[in-house]
């Protein structure tokens, strides 16, 4: 049994170069994929992390030897970090920040959108950023929405729409579809960004999601759930497995 596990673990680190990847372009075989709640991301030879108030930059030119080379004060209650091409999208309880890492050692502030309170993760593609906001603590506010911003001009994000949800948290993109962990897992068609529609739902309680090629991986308090996805038939999600927690 132990030998078997060692072989498996060997595969984790050694199989990086072999299998193909039809995912988004920045997701090379060399790196994996995180959920939308992540606070760590890599871009080229750099590791970026966020903590409560700070964006940290580490050089991983020598992968075994990360060296801290910069830290940038951003704000308060920073929660998530998402990388799309040379941009970092940072979700905080007060808003969304966009930084450029074109100069990777000196991330440049580009823009932000501010909310009064309760911002959560953000994901983005070439044209739009998607942010969920939720409140689960009493502070007089009750905001549970999905917001969409046009980020064609990253220096000047433009608010497009706001949709009421129940308690949205993690989210992920699958081509023309946006998958949101709400009271159920909801799949929206975003091909017409001004008229997004719910096209499918999966009755699972999850707080984060990874879209890994055509596999949907959901994590919740009570389980790890996997479904197969098909871009041509989004209603036909079939459950692959469940690990109960």
């Amino acid at each position: 049994m132990k030998t078997y596990i060692i072989i498996i673990l060997a595969l984790i680190t050694c199989s990086c170069d072999s299998d193909s990847n039809s995912g988004v372009s920045e997701n090379s075989n060399n790196i994996g994929k995180a959920g939308s709640l992540a606070r760590f991301t890599t871009y080229n030879d750099y590791l970026y992390t966020v903590d409560n108030a700070t964006l940290n930059v580490f050089s991983i030119n020598d992968q075994t030897n990360p060296v801290k080379i910069n830290d940038i004060e951003i704000g308060f209650n920073i929660e998530t970090l998402f990388n799309y091409k040379e941009f970092l999208y940072i979700g905080s309880q007060n808003g969304m920040y966009i930084f450029s890492v074109q100069n990777p050692e000196e991330p440049q502030y580009l823009s932000e959108v501010q909310h009064f309170t309760a911002c959560d993760p953000v994901v983005a593609n070439a044209t739009h950023a998607f942010v969920t906001l939720h409140t689960d603590i009493g502070c007089g506010t009750d905001i549970n929405v999905l917001e969409i911003y046009d980020v064609n001009d990253v220096v000047n994000p433009v608010f497009i729409s706001r949709r009421n949800l129940t308690n949205p948290i993690g989210l992920g993109l699958y081509g023309d579809y946006l998958i949101v962990c709400d009271d159920e897992v909801k799949i929206f068609d975003i091909s017409d960004i001004n008229n997004t529609t719910l096209v499918h739902s999966i009755n699972r309680n999850a707080f984060d999601v990874i879209v890994n090629n055509d596999t949907l991986i959901l994590i919740g308090q009570n389980g790890l759930y996997q479904y197969s996805l098909s871009p041509n038939s989004i209603q036909n999600t079939s459950e692959l497995s469940t690990i109960n927690i």
């Binding site: 984790i12 994929k33 992390t49 075994t64 030897n65 009493g138 984060d208 919740g220 790890l224």
Partner: protein, 174 residues
């Protein structure tokens, strides 16, 4: 004095959390929320040797963030480490091992290196596939702030050679 809506709102917010204000007195018999959680503290020497690979699975209790690399899914066990799931067959994923990393929440992988937060430190890890162990190839101490309680509390009485690795419910409170 004329109060605008914002001021009233902020005041009500502060009243909502008044029980979070730290106080040593327990005059009304109701425990302060801050005391519901207490920090788990390790000496640096012990903490620095606490990262290990366990080639037997652990039961998933308090699931955290997930990360996917090739055929493997990493599930964070909050502040404890990462369950390693062999997902070669997504219809039959297998929980095969556990990576002990105290005070962890996040993991990312580039090439052969695994980067995790180990409470206040950043670790670069290399799995030694021959021995079935994990090696810390680099520790960047104090790269991150102290991990806070679920209520956001910071433990201020920490010594330089100590690290907060978790917060647990204080069972001595009625």
């Amino acid at each position: 004095m004329k109060l605008n809506i914002f001021t009233v709102f902020m005041l009500s917010c502060s009243l909502t959390f008044q029980s979070c204000w730290y106080s040593n007195t327990d005059d009304d018999g109701i425990p302060e929320i801050v005391n519901y959680y207490e920090p788990v503290i390790l000496e640096r020497s012990e903490f620095n040797n606490s990262t290990s690979l366990q080639t037997t699975p652990e039961v998933i209790v308090n699931s955290g963030k997930i990360y996917v690399k090739n055929n493997f899914i990493f599930i964070n066990e909050r502040n404890k480490g990462f369950h390693i799931i062999n997902n070669t067959d997504p219809t039959n994923p297998q929980n095969i091992a556990f990576l002990n990393v105290l005070g962890s929440s996040d993991l990312t992988i580039k090439g052969n290196a695994i980067y995790v937060n180990n409470a206040t430190d950043l670790l670069a890890l290399a799995l030694d596939t021959q021995a079935g162990t994990v090696e810390v190839t680099k520790r960047v101490p104090n790269a991150f702030p102290q991990i806070t309680s679920p209520f956001g509390n910071v433990y201020y009485n920490i010594n330089e050679n100590e690290v907060v690795v978790d917060w647990v419910l204080n069972e001595n409170i009625d």
